[in-house]
Protein backbone atom coordinates (compact mmCIF):
# COMPACT_ATOMS: atom_id res chain seq x y z
CA UNK A 1 0.00 0.00 0.00
CA UNK A 2 2.89 2.38 0.71
CA UNK A 3 4.20 4.38 -2.18
CA UNK A 4 7.45 2.41 -2.04
CA UNK A 5 5.70 -0.54 -3.55
CA UNK A 6 5.43 1.32 -6.78
CA UNK A 7 8.95 2.75 -6.77
CA UNK A 8 10.36 0.29 -9.28
CA UNK A 9 7.36 0.48 -11.38
CA UNK A 10 7.76 1.02 -15.09
CA UNK A 11 5.66 3.87 -16.31
CA UNK A 12 2.11 2.87 -16.61
CA UNK A 13 1.15 2.12 -20.20
CA UNK A 14 -1.94 4.21 -19.77
CA UNK A 15 -1.00 7.86 -19.57
CA UNK A 16 -3.34 9.36 -17.08
CA UNK A 17 -2.85 12.28 -14.76
CA UNK A 18 -4.00 10.62 -11.56
CA UNK A 19 -3.58 12.29 -8.24
CA UNK A 20 -1.41 9.97 -6.22
CA UNK A 21 -1.31 12.21 -3.17
CA UNK A 22 -4.28 10.30 -1.85
CA UNK A 23 -1.96 7.42 -1.01
CA UNK A 24 -0.79 9.40 1.98
CA UNK A 25 -4.23 9.10 3.50
CA UNK A 26 -3.68 5.46 4.28
CA UNK A 27 -1.28 6.49 7.02
CA UNK A 28 -3.94 6.09 9.60
CA UNK A 29 -5.32 9.31 10.90
CA UNK A 30 -7.97 8.02 13.25
CA UNK A 31 -11.22 9.50 12.25
CA UNK A 32 -12.18 10.26 15.84
CA UNK A 33 -9.97 13.33 15.66
CA UNK A 34 -12.49 14.57 13.19
CA UNK A 35 -14.75 15.53 16.05
CA UNK A 36 -12.55 18.43 16.92
CA UNK A 37 -12.06 19.56 13.41
CA UNK A 38 -14.78 21.86 12.29
CA UNK A 39 -17.65 19.78 11.08
CA UNK A 40 -19.37 22.85 9.84
CA UNK A 41 -19.06 23.22 6.19
CA UNK A 42 -18.92 26.68 4.70
CA UNK A 43 -22.45 27.77 3.93
CA UNK A 44 -23.22 28.20 0.32
CA UNK A 45 -25.10 31.28 -0.67
CA UNK A 46 -28.40 29.53 -1.03
CA UNK A 47 -28.50 28.72 2.68
CA UNK A 48 -27.81 32.17 3.91
CA UNK A 49 -31.06 32.42 5.76
CA UNK A 50 -30.66 29.04 7.40
CA UNK A 51 -29.45 28.42 10.87
CA UNK A 52 -26.73 25.89 10.81
CA UNK A 53 -27.56 23.48 13.58
CA UNK A 54 -24.46 21.38 14.17
CA UNK A 55 -24.85 18.74 16.78
CA UNK A 56 -21.54 17.20 17.64
CA UNK A 57 -21.99 13.64 16.60
CA UNK A 58 -19.73 10.66 16.94
CA UNK A 59 -18.90 9.86 13.39
CA UNK A 60 -20.47 6.53 12.75
CA UNK A 61 -17.33 4.84 11.56
CA UNK A 62 -17.10 1.13 11.75
CA UNK A 63 -19.86 -0.86 10.21
CA UNK A 64 -22.01 2.19 10.31
CA UNK A 65 -24.49 1.01 12.89
CA UNK A 66 -25.30 3.60 15.50
CA UNK A 67 -23.63 2.93 18.78
CA UNK A 68 -26.49 4.68 20.47
CA UNK A 69 -24.76 8.02 20.14
CA UNK A 70 -26.57 10.95 18.67
CA UNK A 71 -26.93 11.18 14.97
CA UNK A 72 -25.95 14.37 13.31
CA UNK A 73 -28.62 16.81 12.40
CA UNK A 74 -26.17 19.17 10.79
CA UNK A 75 -27.24 17.89 7.43
CA UNK A 76 -30.83 18.90 8.00
CA UNK A 77 -30.84 22.63 8.00
CA UNK A 78 -33.62 24.71 9.36
CA UNK A 79 -34.00 28.43 9.28
CA UNK A 80 -35.26 30.67 12.07
CA UNK A 81 -38.89 29.86 11.37
CA UNK A 82 -38.19 26.15 11.71
CA UNK A 83 -38.65 25.63 7.99
CA UNK A 84 -36.49 23.26 6.03
CA UNK A 85 -34.13 24.92 3.61
CA UNK A 86 -33.77 22.41 0.82
CA UNK A 87 -37.14 21.23 -0.39
CA UNK A 88 -38.00 18.79 -3.14
CA UNK A 89 -41.43 20.08 -3.98
CA UNK A 90 -42.58 21.14 -7.40
CA UNK A 91 -44.86 23.87 -6.11
CA UNK A 92 -42.10 26.43 -6.46
CA UNK A 93 -41.68 25.66 -10.13
CA UNK A 94 -43.64 27.14 -12.96
CA UNK A 95 -46.38 24.94 -14.34
CA UNK A 96 -46.15 23.27 -17.74
CA UNK A 97 -47.92 26.23 -19.36
CA UNK A 98 -45.42 28.65 -17.85
CA UNK A 99 -47.72 30.06 -15.22
CA UNK A 100 -46.12 31.12 -11.98
CA UNK A 101 -47.68 29.25 -9.12
CA UNK A 102 -48.55 31.15 -5.99
CA UNK A 103 -47.27 29.84 -2.71
CA UNK A 104 -50.19 28.62 -0.68
CA UNK A 105 -48.57 26.52 2.03
CA UNK A 106 -45.30 26.21 3.84
CA UNK A 107 -42.68 23.61 3.15
CA UNK A 108 -43.54 20.21 4.49
CA UNK A 109 -41.18 17.85 6.23
CA UNK A 110 -41.87 15.04 3.78
CA UNK A 111 -40.61 17.26 0.98
CA UNK A 112 -37.28 17.88 2.57
CA UNK A 113 -33.92 17.48 0.94
CA UNK A 114 -30.55 17.28 2.62
CA UNK A 115 -27.14 18.57 1.71
CA UNK A 116 -25.14 16.45 -0.67
CA UNK A 117 -22.47 14.24 0.77
CA UNK A 118 -19.77 14.97 -1.80
CA UNK A 119 -17.85 11.93 -0.66
CA UNK A 120 -14.14 12.40 -1.00
CA UNK A 121 -11.23 10.01 -0.95
CA UNK A 122 -9.68 9.66 2.46
CA UNK A 123 -9.82 7.83 5.75
CA UNK A 124 -13.30 6.49 6.27
CA UNK A 125 -15.75 8.93 7.80
CA UNK A 126 -19.42 8.11 7.71
CA UNK A 127 -22.28 10.00 9.28
CA UNK A 128 -25.54 8.34 10.09
CA UNK A 129 -28.73 10.18 9.25
CA UNK A 130 -32.16 9.50 10.68
CA UNK A 131 -34.63 9.45 7.80
CA UNK A 132 -38.34 9.30 7.38
CA UNK A 133 -39.95 6.49 9.25
CA UNK A 134 -37.05 6.15 11.63
CA UNK A 135 -34.86 4.53 9.03
CA UNK A 136 -31.20 5.31 8.54
CA UNK A 137 -28.98 6.43 5.78
CA UNK A 138 -25.22 6.36 5.96
CA UNK A 139 -23.74 9.48 4.55
CA UNK A 140 -20.16 8.70 3.61
CA UNK A 141 -18.13 11.86 3.87
CA UNK A 142 -14.81 10.16 3.16
CA UNK A 143 -14.06 6.71 1.86
CA UNK A 144 -10.96 4.94 0.83
CA UNK A 145 -11.99 1.40 -0.02
CA UNK A 146 -14.87 -0.47 -1.53
CA UNK A 147 -16.03 -3.88 -2.57
CA UNK A 148 -15.39 -4.26 -6.27
CA UNK A 149 -16.42 -7.17 -8.41
CA UNK A 150 -14.70 -8.65 -11.41
CA UNK A 151 -17.74 -9.56 -13.44
CA UNK A 152 -16.35 -11.99 -15.94
CA UNK A 153 -14.64 -13.98 -13.19
CA UNK A 154 -17.60 -13.56 -10.83
CA UNK A 155 -15.61 -12.61 -7.77
CA UNK A 156 -15.53 -9.57 -5.52
CA UNK A 157 -12.78 -8.22 -3.38
CA UNK A 158 -12.46 -5.32 -1.00
CA UNK A 159 -9.95 -2.93 -2.50
CA UNK A 160 -8.48 0.47 -1.92
CA UNK A 161 -9.73 3.23 -4.19
CA UNK A 162 -6.79 5.16 -5.50
CA UNK A 163 -8.16 8.03 -7.52
CA UNK A 164 -11.19 9.35 -9.31
CA UNK A 165 -10.43 9.43 -12.98
CA UNK A 166 -13.57 10.33 -14.92
CA UNK A 167 -17.04 11.61 -14.31
CA UNK A 168 -19.59 11.86 -17.08
CA UNK A 169 -21.59 14.58 -15.34
CA UNK A 170 -19.03 17.06 -14.15
CA UNK A 171 -15.30 17.48 -14.51
CA UNK A 172 -15.24 19.37 -11.25
CA UNK A 173 -16.02 16.12 -9.45
CA UNK A 174 -12.95 14.56 -10.99
CA UNK A 175 -10.76 17.44 -9.98
CA UNK A 176 -11.93 17.34 -6.39
CA UNK A 177 -11.92 13.54 -6.28
CA UNK A 178 -15.57 13.13 -5.39
CA UNK A 179 -17.02 9.64 -5.22
CA UNK A 180 -20.45 9.33 -6.73
CA UNK A 181 -22.33 6.60 -8.47
CA UNK A 182 -21.03 5.93 -11.97
CA UNK A 183 -17.75 7.67 -11.35
CA UNK A 184 -14.81 5.92 -12.96
CA UNK A 185 -12.09 5.25 -10.42
CA UNK A 186 -8.79 3.49 -10.25
CA UNK A 187 -8.55 0.70 -7.74
CA UNK A 188 -5.71 -1.30 -6.35
CA UNK A 189 -5.27 -4.51 -8.35
CA UNK A 190 -3.45 -6.65 -5.81
CA UNK A 191 -6.40 -8.58 -4.29
CA UNK A 192 -7.55 -9.53 -7.76
CA UNK A 193 -4.11 -10.48 -8.88
CA UNK A 194 -3.67 -12.65 -5.81
CA UNK A 195 -6.97 -14.38 -6.46
CA UNK A 196 -6.17 -14.95 -10.10
CA UNK A 197 -2.79 -16.42 -9.42
CA UNK A 198 -4.17 -18.72 -6.76
CA UNK A 199 -7.10 -19.77 -8.90
CA UNK A 200 -5.37 -20.30 -12.21
CA UNK A 201 -1.75 -20.72 -11.14
CA UNK A 202 -0.63 -18.48 -13.99
CA UNK A 203 0.95 -15.07 -13.77
CA UNK A 204 -1.07 -12.07 -14.83
CA UNK A 205 0.07 -8.66 -15.88
CA UNK A 206 3.57 -9.77 -16.68
CA UNK A 207 5.71 -6.69 -16.72
CA UNK A 208 8.16 -6.32 -19.55
CA UNK A 209 11.02 -5.08 -17.42
CA UNK A 210 14.27 -5.57 -19.27
CA UNK A 211 16.44 -8.20 -17.68
CA UNK A 212 14.22 -8.57 -14.68
CA UNK A 213 14.17 -12.03 -13.29
CA UNK A 214 10.73 -13.51 -13.54
CA UNK A 215 9.97 -14.41 -10.01
CA UNK A 216 6.92 -16.56 -9.93
CA UNK A 217 4.86 -15.39 -7.04
CA UNK A 218 4.23 -17.57 -4.09
CA UNK A 219 0.60 -17.85 -5.03
CA UNK A 220 1.39 -19.66 -8.23
CA UNK A 221 3.83 -22.07 -6.76
CA UNK A 222 2.20 -22.87 -3.48
CA UNK A 223 1.83 -26.47 -2.47
CA UNK A 224 -1.41 -27.96 -3.64
CA UNK A 225 -2.86 -31.37 -3.14
CA UNK A 226 -3.13 -33.66 -6.12
CA UNK A 227 -6.84 -33.20 -6.50
CA UNK A 228 -6.61 -29.43 -6.30
CA UNK A 229 -3.69 -29.38 -8.72
CA UNK A 230 -5.73 -31.26 -11.29
CA UNK A 231 -8.60 -28.80 -10.87
CA UNK A 232 -6.25 -25.90 -11.33
CA UNK A 233 -4.78 -27.37 -14.47
CA UNK A 234 -8.24 -27.86 -15.87
CA UNK A 235 -9.06 -24.22 -15.23
CA UNK A 236 -6.08 -23.00 -17.16
CA UNK A 237 -8.00 -23.40 -20.39
CA UNK A 238 -10.28 -20.53 -19.36
CA UNK A 239 -7.53 -18.42 -17.92
CA UNK A 240 -7.23 -16.02 -20.82
CA UNK A 241 -7.64 -12.41 -19.85
CA UNK A 242 -8.38 -9.48 -22.12
CA UNK A 243 -5.14 -7.65 -23.03
CA UNK A 244 -6.58 -4.33 -21.92
CA UNK A 245 -7.10 -5.77 -18.45
CA UNK A 246 -3.68 -7.36 -18.54
CA UNK A 247 -2.11 -3.95 -19.10
CA UNK A 248 -3.90 -2.63 -16.06
CA UNK A 249 -2.74 -5.51 -13.93
CA UNK A 250 0.81 -4.79 -15.01
CA UNK A 251 0.37 -1.25 -13.75
CA UNK A 252 -1.21 -2.45 -10.54
CA UNK A 253 -4.29 -0.33 -11.09
CA UNK A 254 -7.64 -1.30 -12.51
CA UNK A 255 -10.36 0.91 -13.85
CA UNK A 256 -13.66 0.42 -12.10
CA UNK A 257 -17.04 2.05 -12.05
CA UNK A 258 -18.91 2.84 -8.87
CA UNK A 259 -22.34 1.31 -8.73
CA UNK A 260 -23.39 2.20 -5.21
CA UNK A 261 -24.39 5.61 -3.89
CA UNK A 262 -21.89 6.55 -1.19
CA UNK A 263 -24.07 9.32 0.18
CA UNK A 264 -26.97 6.96 0.74
CA UNK A 265 -25.46 3.63 1.66
CA UNK A 266 -22.11 4.77 2.96
CA UNK A 267 -20.29 2.39 0.66
CA UNK A 268 -18.31 2.77 -2.52
CA UNK A 269 -18.88 -0.52 -4.27
CA UNK A 270 -18.61 -1.15 -7.95
CA UNK A 271 -17.43 -3.30 -10.79
CA UNK A 272 -14.28 -3.53 -12.83
CA UNK A 273 -14.64 -2.13 -16.31
CA UNK A 274 -14.32 -4.66 -19.07
CA UNK A 275 -14.94 -5.05 -22.75
CA UNK A 276 -16.70 -2.27 -24.60
CA UNK A 277 -17.25 -0.18 -21.55
CA UNK A 278 -13.55 -0.23 -20.79
CA UNK A 279 -12.68 0.71 -24.34
CA UNK A 280 -15.20 3.53 -24.22
CA UNK A 281 -13.80 5.07 -21.07
CA UNK A 282 -10.18 4.62 -22.05
CA UNK A 283 -10.95 6.56 -25.17
CA UNK A 284 -12.57 9.28 -23.09
CA UNK A 285 -9.57 9.45 -20.82
CA UNK A 286 -7.13 9.76 -23.66
CA UNK A 287 -8.74 12.95 -24.87
Amino acid sequence: MAPEAYANHPSAPLAIDTVYTHIQYTIAVPSMTAIDSPQKKPLSTEHQGCHYRSKRAGSGSGSGSGSGSTFTSQLLQKDEGGNYCISRDSRHKRSASGAKRAQYRKKRKFELGRQAANTKLGAKRIHEVRTRGGNRKFRAMRLDAGNFSWGSEAISRKTRIVAVVYNASNNELVRTGTLVKNAIVQIDATPFRQWYEAHYATPIGARKAKGAVKVESEEINKARSNHVQRKVEARKADAKVDPALDHQFAAGRLYACLSSRPGQSGRADGYILEGQELAFYIRKLKK
Binding site: S90, K93, A96, G151, S152, E153, A168, S169, N182, D238, E274, G275, Q276, E277, F280, Y281, K284
Partner: protein, 155 residues
Protein backbone atom coordinates in the same frame (compact mmCIF):
# COMPACT_ATOMS: atom_id res chain seq x y z
CA UNK B 1 -21.49 1.49 -31.49
CA UNK B 2 -23.12 4.55 -32.91
CA UNK B 3 -25.52 4.89 -30.00
CA UNK B 4 -22.74 5.88 -27.58
CA UNK B 5 -23.15 9.62 -28.05
CA UNK B 6 -23.39 10.55 -24.39
CA UNK B 7 -20.53 11.11 -22.01
CA UNK B 8 -21.35 8.02 -20.02
CA UNK B 9 -21.39 4.54 -21.45
CA UNK B 10 -24.93 3.70 -22.52
CA UNK B 11 -26.04 0.21 -21.78
CA UNK B 12 -29.09 -1.69 -20.67
CA UNK B 13 -29.17 -1.81 -16.92
CA UNK B 14 -29.03 -5.32 -15.65
CA UNK B 15 -27.63 -7.29 -18.54
CA UNK B 16 -24.03 -8.30 -18.26
CA UNK B 17 -22.09 -7.76 -21.44
CA UNK B 18 -18.64 -8.96 -20.52
CA UNK B 19 -19.07 -12.64 -19.93
CA UNK B 20 -16.05 -14.62 -20.91
CA UNK B 21 -16.18 -15.39 -24.57
CA UNK B 22 -17.50 -18.89 -25.04
CA UNK B 23 -17.77 -18.37 -28.77
CA UNK B 24 -21.24 -18.01 -30.14
CA UNK B 25 -23.09 -15.44 -28.04
CA UNK B 26 -20.56 -12.68 -28.60
CA UNK B 27 -21.82 -12.00 -32.12
CA UNK B 28 -25.50 -11.99 -31.26
CA UNK B 29 -27.11 -8.93 -29.82
CA UNK B 30 -27.27 -9.47 -26.07
CA UNK B 31 -30.41 -7.43 -25.56
CA UNK B 32 -33.18 -7.48 -23.03
CA UNK B 33 -36.74 -6.62 -23.94
CA UNK B 34 -40.18 -7.23 -22.54
CA UNK B 35 -43.79 -7.27 -23.54
CA UNK B 36 -45.70 -4.37 -22.12
CA UNK B 37 -48.91 -6.31 -21.80
CA UNK B 38 -52.47 -5.36 -22.66
CA UNK B 39 -52.08 -6.86 -26.10
CA UNK B 40 -49.50 -4.40 -27.40
CA UNK B 41 -46.99 -5.97 -29.70
CA UNK B 42 -43.39 -5.07 -29.06
CA UNK B 43 -41.90 -3.65 -32.25
CA UNK B 44 -39.24 -5.55 -34.13
CA UNK B 45 -36.87 -2.61 -33.87
CA UNK B 46 -37.03 -2.86 -30.09
CA UNK B 47 -35.87 -6.48 -30.18
CA UNK B 48 -33.28 -6.24 -32.90
CA UNK B 49 -32.17 -2.67 -32.62
CA UNK B 50 -29.14 -1.30 -30.81
CA UNK B 51 -30.54 1.81 -29.20
CA UNK B 52 -30.38 2.27 -25.46
CA UNK B 53 -33.32 4.01 -23.85
CA UNK B 54 -34.05 3.50 -20.19
CA UNK B 55 -37.48 5.08 -20.62
CA UNK B 56 -38.54 2.82 -23.47
CA UNK B 57 -41.48 0.63 -22.43
CA UNK B 58 -40.02 -2.36 -24.31
CA UNK B 59 -36.32 -2.21 -23.50
CA UNK B 60 -36.20 0.02 -20.46
CA UNK B 61 -37.24 0.26 -16.87
CA UNK B 62 -40.80 1.60 -17.10
CA UNK B 63 -44.03 -0.26 -16.66
CA UNK B 64 -47.29 0.66 -18.32
CA UNK B 65 -50.22 0.85 -15.96
CA UNK B 66 -53.22 3.06 -15.57
CA UNK B 67 -54.72 4.91 -18.46
CA UNK B 68 -54.33 4.15 -22.14
CA UNK B 69 -55.13 7.14 -24.33
CA UNK B 70 -54.92 8.02 -27.99
CA UNK B 71 -54.19 11.24 -29.75
CA UNK B 72 -52.70 12.92 -32.75
CA UNK B 73 -49.07 13.91 -32.87
CA UNK B 74 -48.61 17.63 -32.87
CA UNK B 75 -44.85 17.93 -32.68
CA UNK B 76 -41.83 15.65 -32.69
CA UNK B 77 -39.15 18.27 -32.17
CA UNK B 78 -38.04 17.14 -28.73
CA UNK B 79 -35.44 14.50 -28.17
CA UNK B 80 -37.28 11.18 -27.76
CA UNK B 81 -40.54 12.80 -26.72
CA UNK B 82 -43.59 14.08 -28.58
CA UNK B 83 -46.58 16.28 -27.95
CA UNK B 84 -49.98 14.76 -28.59
CA UNK B 85 -53.18 16.65 -29.07
CA UNK B 86 -56.38 15.11 -27.77
CA UNK B 87 -59.61 16.67 -28.90
CA UNK B 88 -62.93 16.29 -27.20
CA UNK B 89 -66.37 17.89 -27.07
CA UNK B 90 -67.61 19.63 -24.00
CA UNK B 91 -71.37 19.91 -23.48
CA UNK B 92 -72.93 23.21 -22.46
CA UNK B 93 -76.26 22.31 -20.97
CA UNK B 94 -77.77 25.79 -21.19
CA UNK B 95 -77.56 25.81 -24.95
CA UNK B 96 -77.82 22.10 -25.42
CA UNK B 97 -74.78 22.17 -27.62
CA UNK B 98 -71.16 21.13 -27.71
CA UNK B 99 -67.95 23.05 -27.98
CA UNK B 100 -64.56 21.84 -29.14
CA UNK B 101 -61.82 21.62 -26.61
CA UNK B 102 -58.37 20.09 -26.68
CA UNK B 103 -55.57 19.15 -24.31
CA UNK B 104 -51.93 18.59 -25.08
CA UNK B 105 -50.02 15.73 -23.66
CA UNK B 106 -46.29 15.11 -23.58
CA UNK B 107 -45.35 11.49 -24.14
CA UNK B 108 -42.04 9.74 -24.36
CA UNK B 109 -41.41 8.06 -27.68
CA UNK B 110 -38.98 5.19 -27.86
CA UNK B 111 -36.46 5.03 -30.69
CA UNK B 112 -38.15 1.77 -31.61
CA UNK B 113 -40.67 3.82 -33.52
CA UNK B 114 -38.99 5.18 -36.59
CA UNK B 115 -40.40 7.34 -39.32
CA UNK B 116 -43.05 8.89 -37.14
CA UNK B 117 -44.31 12.26 -38.27
CA UNK B 118 -46.62 15.00 -37.26
CA UNK B 119 -50.22 14.07 -37.88
CA UNK B 120 -49.89 10.39 -37.08
CA UNK B 121 -52.28 8.95 -34.59
CA UNK B 122 -50.73 7.33 -31.56
CA UNK B 123 -51.69 5.20 -28.57
CA UNK B 124 -50.01 6.06 -25.30
CA UNK B 125 -50.02 4.33 -21.96
CA UNK B 126 -49.58 5.80 -18.52
CA UNK B 127 -46.35 5.15 -16.68
CA UNK B 128 -44.53 6.70 -13.77
CA UNK B 129 -43.34 10.31 -14.12
CA UNK B 130 -40.40 10.36 -16.52
CA UNK B 131 -39.82 14.09 -16.39
CA UNK B 132 -41.57 17.24 -15.28
CA UNK B 133 -44.47 16.86 -17.69
CA UNK B 134 -44.10 13.37 -19.18
CA UNK B 135 -46.17 10.60 -17.64
CA UNK B 136 -47.05 8.67 -20.78
CA UNK B 137 -45.18 6.41 -23.12
CA UNK B 138 -45.92 5.67 -26.76
CA UNK B 139 -47.06 2.09 -27.33
CA UNK B 140 -48.38 2.05 -30.86
CA UNK B 141 -48.32 4.29 -33.89
CA UNK B 142 -50.97 4.35 -36.59
CA UNK B 143 -49.66 6.30 -39.53
CA UNK B 144 -51.86 8.89 -41.10
CA UNK B 145 -53.57 7.56 -44.20
CA UNK B 146 -53.05 9.97 -47.04
CA UNK B 147 -55.97 9.73 -49.38
CA UNK B 148 -54.74 9.24 -52.86
CA UNK B 149 -51.52 7.59 -51.93
CA UNK B 150 -49.94 8.77 -55.10
CA UNK B 151 -49.91 12.29 -53.77
CA UNK B 152 -46.56 13.93 -53.32
CA UNK B 153 -45.59 13.89 -49.67
CA UNK B 154 -42.62 15.94 -48.56
CA UNK B 155 -39.93 13.40 -48.02
Amino acid sequence: MSEQIEKAFQKQQGIFQNAKVAGKKSIKNNRWYKEVGLGFKTPKEAIEGHYIDKKCPFTGDVSIRGRILTGEIMSTKMKRTIIIRREYLHFISKYNRYEKRHKNLAAHMSPAFIGVQQGDSVTVGQCRPLSKTVRFNVLKVQKKVVKGAKNFAKF
